[in-house]
Symmetry: C2
Subunit: 238 residues, 2 copies
Amino acid sequence: MNLILLFDDDFIAPARVRLSDRRYAHIRAVQQPEAGQTLKVGLLNGAIGRAQVLRVDDQSIELETCLDQMPPTALPLTLILALPRPKMLKRTLQTIATMGVKKLCLINSYRVDKSYWSSPLLADAAIREQLLLGLEQAGDTQVPDVSLHKRFKPFVEDELPAIATDTRALVAHPYEASECPPAEQTLTTLAIGPEGGFIRYEVEKLQQAGLAPIHVGQRILRVETAVPVLLARLFPPL
Amino acid sequence: MNLILLFDDDFIAPARVRLSDRRYAHIRAVQQPEAGQTLKVGLLNGAIGRAQVLRVDDQSIELETCLDQMPPTALPLTLILALPRPKMLKRTLQTIATMGVKKLCLINSYRVDKSYWSSPLLADAAIREQLLLGLEQAGDTQVPDVSLHKRFKPFVEDELPAIATDTRALVAHPYEASECPPAEQTLTTLAIGPEGGFIRYEVEKLQQAGLAPIHVGQRILRVETAVPVLLARLFPPL
């Protein structure tokens, strides 16, 4: 937790918050705060800044906030990801939030196990929990938008062309692909397949929707490695 | 498993192997092979190629191998990593093997919990198991060399300067650092700290050993994200 995310409900007066939940427990255990100390904070979907510890006891902590900075720059990206298995989904949601992805479409694919779609980790609250952990890690406040698309064909035929239009539209695919283009802070659409990859039919449908196949070298990466590698290659550090 | 790693012991005749262990079970379950089919294989620390299924039954599979290609290019890198917590170590060992790191030094740091050094995951066989999984994922055969350095100061003072000499020597550190240099296939030494980062004293010692601090943007990344991001930024896709 490199930033304490604050919610409107936390405010007991202007610029004054009281925390008594997970965040309080974490601050207490890790940072052992004393009155006068400052902590890094940010308002959910808002500004970031510092907060001074006013009071801390066995129940709660009170902070005086000064939120005067912009959160880190977002990636200008719509990431389309074949739904990973639940354990990997959890980590991937944290990773994409940490790296600054603000739009994630989780889609079906031939090699996505059907059971993944009934995972309790796909509940709104469960997704949000992982995203907030990722934001706290990065020092960001802007919650990514995550949408679920249980049917591949309607998504790719009816929704993807509009998403991809006028963007750098790419699908990560190790075969018959061009080398990954250089890092650029430009509007991008990127599709990443499941373990084992998209099947040929799916790659063809993605190409028809305007996505060009790219690869990042000879090595086959797991999804949880492919995501940070592709984002690092496609966007400059900001 | 995108490549089946073969060992000298597997050969029952020249260019002929019989498998009956984890690899057999995996091939059986995932690839449902039939006689005549070809699979991707590689000899441990040797060449890669294809193997034709000669025979498969309830106990074992026999393959005829043709190992005529070089494994993927390695990263010209010595990676120095503060020992991560055991669960993250497991994944990180797989990731570095997948990405082509061939020299990893796991070191101590102020923020490394002492208990991590007694994890059973640090046994030679346990480390090797994770590395082989990473190689099988990537399609590589060259096992990385992993060394353990339980004392920070002797390693950084006595061993690191020689490792770093005549290489692009860097320490990932988010503060008072230059931007990550561009991707280049050049001899590199890279140190990555623990969760929470190296402390100031450690960064100074690393700088005295010749390492220059670099950052990859404003966001603070977890170690398991920082590793693929830094490797993707520092080396071109090969």
